[in-house]
């Protein structure tokens, strides 16, 4: 395009040879800017620019996330109910454990008896108040030593008596056997 034609294009607006529109048609913007103003752009600039712009946009349009596949207004009440159930379960458990640990003087002795072994005597004594310790010791001596001893003696007697019965039964069986062998046979 020659210089004079370009000049006419620039200044002759009335004839319709407008910068962007010639005879009513809109011309390519890049071409016109290059032609009239000498301004150029890199090849494929606008497609690359679009990609860059889209990448740089702030992420504010992601879909709202669901909670465990459920919408939040359903999931949150369910989660709250589960938490409540767990809390109630723990509360009940704590209560029953506490009841188990309410040691009265009678309960202490019973508990300690349940433990049973004399080896636990020292440990058991730690669970009792000092004021109840004498009572506990008396109870321990009575129950753990004297009574046990009596029971042991009774067991010995039982063994002796049983052995007498056993001997008699053995004699009887001996006699019966001899009777069968010697008399009948």
């Amino acid at each position: 395009m020659g210089k004079s034609k370009k000049d006419n294009k620039i200044i002759n607006e009335q004839s319709g040879n407008h910068f962007l529109k010639e005879d009513g048609l809109k011309k390519d913007l890049a071409q016109e800017h290059k032609e009239f103003l000498g301004l150029d752009v890199p090849a494929n600039y606008f497609s690359k620019s679009k990609e860059n712009i889209l990448k740089s946009l702030p992420m504010e349009n992601k879909q709202k996330r669901t909670v465990f596949g459920l919408r939040p207004f359903i999931a949150y009440p369910i989660a709250a109910s589960i938490l409540l159930l767990v809390a109630i379960t723990f509360w009940f458990q704590n209560n029953s454990n506490q009841n188990n640990f309410q040691v009265t003087d009678v309960d202490a002795i019973e508990t300690i008896k349940d433990i049973g072994s004399t080896d636990d005597f020292l440990v058991s004594s730690l669970l009792i108040d000092d004021s109840e310790l004498d009572q506990y010791i008396d109870g321990y001596i009575l129950n753990e030593i004297i009574v046990e001893a009596e029971l042991s003696e009774q067991q010995l007697e039982n063994i002796f008596i049983n052995s007498l019965f056993v001997e008699d039964s053995l004699i009887n069986s001996y006699i019966d056997n001899n009777l069968i062998e010697n008399v009948i046979l």
Partner: protein, 184 residues
């Protein structure tokens, strides 16, 4: 206009915003680029400003009150971003009549993507000598093909002032170019 109304509706819908914004880029990216480029002059600067412009558009669209057209609103953002860029970088490309316009022409010549010949450089020189408002109205009216009403909304100057300023600039350019022809 109807297309813009539909586009605004889609842009404000969170489900359709991403696709609508892609369509918006297809429609307006190039136009806004050239609008910006004529203010900041170099391609690299225009690229930066264009990106900032569309980020602002994306963020601001939900609050767009439709007091003006979408077209005008975006041009206004692009223009403001260009001016902000120039102020931040202290690049005096739109020099006033009292100031030296060498930096304007020098910046232009240094741009890798300026391939203008002598007459185009002359045109730029003439433009550089205009006042800021004269330059702006001429660029927007003549090169961006905006109406006086739209330019009035962008620059916040009355239409009558713009019209008189524009025709004065056209006359000045004609005279200058004729003077160049006579000299050459």
């Amino acid at each position: 206009m109807n297309k813009d109304i539909d586009l605004i509706k889609r842009l404000k819908d969170p489900k359709q915003k991403d696709k609508a914004f892609s369509d918006l880029l297809d429609l307006y990216q190039e136009r806004l680029y050239w609008h910006i480029r004529k203010i900041v002059l170099t391609h690299d600067n225009a690229n930066d400003v264009l990106q900032n412009t569309f980020i602002r558009i994306f963020k601001g669209i939900k609050n767009f009150q439709e007091k003006s057209t979408l077209h005008t609103w975006m041009y206004r953002i692009a223009y403001n971003e260009s001016i902000r860029f120039l102020e931040n970088n202290k690049i005096k490309t739109l020099v006033s009549l009292e100031q030296d316009n060498n930096s304007y022409i020098n910046n232009l010549k240094q741009d890798e993507y300026f391939n203008g010949d002598e007459i185009q450089l002359k045109l730029h020189q003439i433009l550089s000598r205009l006042s800021d408002n004269q330059k702006r109205v001429f660029q927007m009216k003549y090169f961006d093909d905006l109406s006086f009403r739209e330019i009035s909304e962008i620059l916040d100057i009355s239409e009558n002032t713009l019209k008189s300023s524009y025709y004065s600039v056209v006359k000045t350019i004609e005279e200058k170019i004729h003077q160049e022809e006579i000299i050459t």
